[in-house]
Amino acid sequence: MRKNLLPGPCLNPSSWGKLLLAAGLLLVFVQGLLQLYEVQNFFSPDKYHAIKLNLIRKECFKIDRGLTSLQGQLNILTRLQQPRAQPDLVPSSRPLSDSSSLLPADGARCYPDSSWQAAIHAAKKKRVYVARKLNHLNLILQSMHRDLEAKLSDIGSGSSARKPEKEKTLEQIREIRAIWQTYNDNLNDLSIRLEKLAECSSSPQANTISQNKKR
């Protein structure tokens, strides 16, 4: 006979299921209640800024990833551009690959015009993705900065328990704004590179290549 080691009534699987279900739902209920903005604001008024900063850091990570990806796309396009600028390297008789993937440099000679356009399109899409995020982030950071400065000036020179926390948040915002500036400069440089590449694709030389291919 099996001995029950735990005190209390022995629960069968169905009772365990009921208990787990109720506990899970209660957990969601309590967590939801505690995470309501009004409740959070009541207990810790600076919590919202902390959450927002966390989201901003995540956004910065996405921007960074976007910029790296855009840089990679432009590097490939630049490598592909060199053979494009030399029409004699692309024999018109040579069959063209239908592959739409980005090819390495040694495959660049047979890079089809539609794929070039698709790659330019993809790079432009990525640029807009990053630009949108940067634009939005800039305004959010400015707004938070304004807001915190106003609150700090309200507190003034008087001592407040929340002043150091606000100053710390303000400092973090300043740091993120400096990172934002780096990202923005980086995007501007990449945008100029992309525009040059796109111009090249619509230049007469590029048109000659595409006409050769059509023949």
């Binding site: 299921g17 009921k18 279900l21 109720a22 969601v28 967590q31 989201l55 432009k124 807009v128 707004s143």
Partner: protein, 522 residues
Amino acid sequence: MIILALGAFLLLFGLDNRPFWQDEAETACLAKNVLKYGVPRAYDGVNLVSQEAGNEYGSNYLWRWSPWLQIYVAAAAFKIGGLTTYAGRFPFALMGLACIFLVYQLVRHNFGDRPWALVAAALLISSVPFLLYARQCRYYSLGAFLTLASLYAFREKWQSRTFPALLLCLSLGLLFYSNYLLFFSFTGAALLAAGLLYYSEMPLARSLKLIITVGIIILPGLFFFRIHQQTMMVSQGAILANLETYLGDFFQFMFPLPLAFYLLWRWGQLLWTRSGLSEAPQEKFILFLSLVVLGNILILTPAPQGEFRYLVHLYPLCAIALGWIVCRAWRYQKFSGALLAVLLLGTNWLYVLPMDWLGIINRPVHNDPHMLIYPNLPLKLYISELSSPYPDVSHNLIRFFQTHARPGETILTTYDDLPLQFYIPCRILGGLGGPIVLTQPPDWLVLRWYPRWNRQYDLNESEVLIRQLLSNSTDYQRMVLAGEDEIFGNQPDPYFHHFIPPVESLSPLTIYEKKSPSRPMP
């Protein structure tokens, strides 16, 4: 009756609190032109309706981008109720109300389970995103209503009786003319799911007849609405991104992830133990609905834009499935059943928190805590919007030009050109439309802080033109309005819908007025 009365209040009260936003205004402007020309023309002699760089119409300006049913519904409402915001939204809100009734009726009539029917209907009226979409002058509630009507007909004896068969064909045909994306995704998924689960109830000859009839109904539209041209926008690279978007949105706003896992576990267990699906018609129907929803999402993924609005017609299906789960939980353990009902009816915690814990929640940085992506009491937010509506960006723009611009003046704007076209007797240029021909400098410029790019990922022509006009000239005087320059006005998308003014002020609305000695300063 109480649920319907509550639904009527939530759907019809303060329907015109906020003006049309850009997409609604597209339908409204075209409906206005229907009253004038009998057909939806994009050009009324002064203004041009376009959000796709002028690709939506032919040489005669006849609208060929999207189906006409929603436009004619709005036109009929304008004919009866006048050219007002309330009239434009009213028939669509009524369709939303009809959805609540149909959800109740579908469950009650087919399964005789009154508590399930009541819970499902209550869940639908407490779905704030559904309410927001149903209050739009747009196809959303029409799509949901026709989806439900087709399901209702499908559960009747369409195999032998004429009326259900006719209703099935008509509802599917009309769904196409509401929005063909909804038609293809829903019909494709429903056909597959029905073939899988209800094959024994689908006589081949009759089924083929119905399919052919629906095909004949939609055939003219297939050619007229340039579907082929729009399929060119399909990008294989977007499929995975769209799938991620749709599934994320689905679990965040329509069907809580833990409950989806419960269904998967339940049906997976049945499959694993080979005990087979319970022959109970209720559970079979829930599995059918789940497959329809899943298939719908999968079929939608190659569509060019992964937008939450393409899932709105699935809300009633989700309400039915969630209602079934609540009733099962209640029968299993009353406390859990009641708690689950409270969580689903009054909060969004079961949707948002588990995704938060798993770190897979989509919480854009521009959102604030009074939006549906944060743990909230959605109905409280919704009722605060109904009871004390705030003037959104479209409202502020419209009000400004109603008091400051003179009829016939020209306004060039980067966005919200269509609401201005509907409400202001001026010549409105710009927005997301095609090439802009200026014979003289516009009297007013509106440069919104949120830049808009076209499908080629270049800045829209209106953006470029306004920046040029402002950089080369000192002829314009800058005016900063008190209101916030939000990205959208009354946009129902949970990622953009503000129930109360945004917590943070990002940028004020800025307007430029042409300096002219003959024009009195406001």
